[in-house]
Symmetry: C2
Subunit: 346 residues, 2 copies
């Protein structure tokens, strides 16, 4: 793989690993990110490397998007569109248009800018949240989506627009429906269960408040594996419109994650307290497993199951607190290197 | 049924029949319409009736929407949201954000305004265009949608947001996926196949240009029946989120419609010319039939099949050209009256 690539949201937890991997493959990489949830520290070690460009800009700002699409020598050839409101949680009192603006409108802007610039290849980070509450499990890509969150609804909106642009303007598109992606960078407080539990237990090691009834059980995927899967699919899937679930086929309960975090922090006798209810927040899908047959058939399969992925993420998150940078560990062939020693579980 | 009802797009072909039917049932009815595709003549005969209000406004204009939602004695209790870009066709050179603005953004505005005003009941005019090209026919509501037009994509966006608002804010919603709706009012040039053919044959009765290869075959539904079905479903379906295909279970080819229009106009020997290609325009879904088991099970079924519906619409369209107003023919019980004499086929 080579070429001139734009990574939107490239300072984010997944985008920055992706940008590093693409650079490692000899691509010119432009990252556009408004640093609202992405962090400069995620890409600081990329800044000096040849072929890397950073644009501090918002996708709602036409000028920033134009600059991004025209960057590199002769404009970009492919877009990995990962910029989004990363927080699936809706808290009563939040504005209801955050996802509409940051997901739906930004994605339309990217598509329209691509059309005007003649850029015909797009990979997109969608989400398993589009499915909503499904009786049939595991959930395959051809199951009808019924999102129950604004996050999931607007990601489905993005998918629908991508499909229409793909058909109308002859694009090649890859839509990836992510499981819960975990990793050392994905730990902003409250955004993921791991970061939430670590923060709470650091404040009070004797008790842990768990959102919902703790029996929520979801599919997880390590951020590094998520990046590797995207790169693999783009290289190996046929042209046209491709849709893949990305995740582990199993699921892991929130109660089990609480035990794992406490154990990794060397705590015992933690008292668990529950806010109650099936879901952790309004719009939470309490239980799901993903059918990942499609990406498996293509030739890619997650190395770690959900529990292993979460365990690695917990260990890496606890260590990350004491380090200042994180080197992506994906080789130029998109294979995961051995996990770092600190992340190995007994 | 009674209460204070807002009909967005209520000066449109379907909305105006709906507004009349609701008034006939004793409801207070506010119509909001920007008259971009709706017409004042469609509601002129409602204007003097007690309980009817008209707001000439755009749903992208917050003030107009606020006025609409607060109208009647104490604000509205239910919204029938029919306002949309009514044209499924995308013509190269058209702006690509028309559907985004008129479908996605307007629907978000309606939902958010409802949330703020505590209005909890919403019926929505979606479309069979959300399904895209499906191998499995007829298409049931639980089939995964893959829209190939901007119209279909943005209508799916609306559905997704409605589902999320329904779940998050405890609303009752009815989503109706319309077949091709035909009727005497639905004949603006180029928008529907019937109006297109009538206009072309009036200009030149010797030849008829047909978009595509003429073998496109779709499901049709008479506008009056569409209105009756919506009212029936709102009265009889359980609360929560309800999704119904509305149409005839069969399909009718464009070639057959061409023959029917020519015959109804007393023409013979018309030379048919084809623009070629499977679809009539970019984003056209050439063939579909709808599985209408769900609305049938609820107790409603279309009285006319696709060919009968199109025949009635052709006859009514030809007569409508010589009349100035159209009286909706739905009784207060939501039953269709006998079709008018001029619309009866031999």
């Amino acid at each position: 793989m080579s070429g001139r690539i734009l990574v939107t949201g490239g300072a984010g937890c997944i985008g920055s690993d992706l940008a590093a991997a693409l650079l490692g493959r000899g691509c010119q990489v432009t990252v556009v990110d408004n640093l609202s949830s992405g962090k400069w520290e995620h890409i600081a070690d990329l800044a000096g490397r040849p072929g890397f460009h950073f644009i501090d800009g918002d996708l709602l700002d036409e000028a920033a998007l134009e600059a991004a699409m025209a960057s590199g020598d002769g404009g970009v050839e492919m877009v990995y569109h990962l910029a989004a409101n990363p927080d699936v949680k809706f808290v009563p009192g939040d504005p209801t248009d955050k996802d509409l603006r940051q997901n739906t409108l930004c994605t339309y802007n990217v598509l329209e800018s691509m059309r005007r610039h003649g850029v015909r290849r797009l990979a997109f980070s969608s989400t398993s949240a589009i499915y909503g509450i499904c009786e049939r499990q595991p959930i395959a890509e051809d199951q009808a989506p019924h999102p129950i969150s604004l996050y999931g609804a607007t990601k489905l909106s993005c998918e629908a627009m991508i499909g229409a642009f793909q058909h109308l303007f002859g694009m090649d598109c890859w839509i990836f429906r992510f499981a819960n992606v975990v990793g050392p960078k994905v730990r902003k407080r409250g955004r993921t269960v791991i970061g939430d539990f670590i923060d709470k237990l650091r404040r009070d090691p004797t008790r842990l408040q768990i959102l919902g009834d703790g029996r929520q059980a979801k599919s997880y995927l390590l951020a590094e594996e998520c990046v590797a899967a995207m790169l693999f699919a783009v290289e190996h899937a046929p042209r046209g419109l491709n849709v893949f679930n990305l995740g582990c086929p199993d699921s892991l309960s929130v109660n089990r994650i609480a035990q794992m975090v406490a154990a990794a922090m060397g705590l015992s006798g933690v008292q668990y307290e529950y806010t109650g209810g099936e879901g952790g927040w309004p719009g939470d899908v309490p239980r799901f497993r993903l059918d990942v047959t499609a990406i498996n058939r293509l030739g890619w399969r997650a190395r770690y199951n959900s529990e292993e992925a979460v365990a690695l993420a917990i260990d890496a998150s606890l260590v990350a607190n004491t380090t200042t940078s994180h080197q992506p560990r994906i080789t130029s062939h998109g294979e995961l290197c051995s996990p770092p020693e600190h992340a190995c579980r007994p």
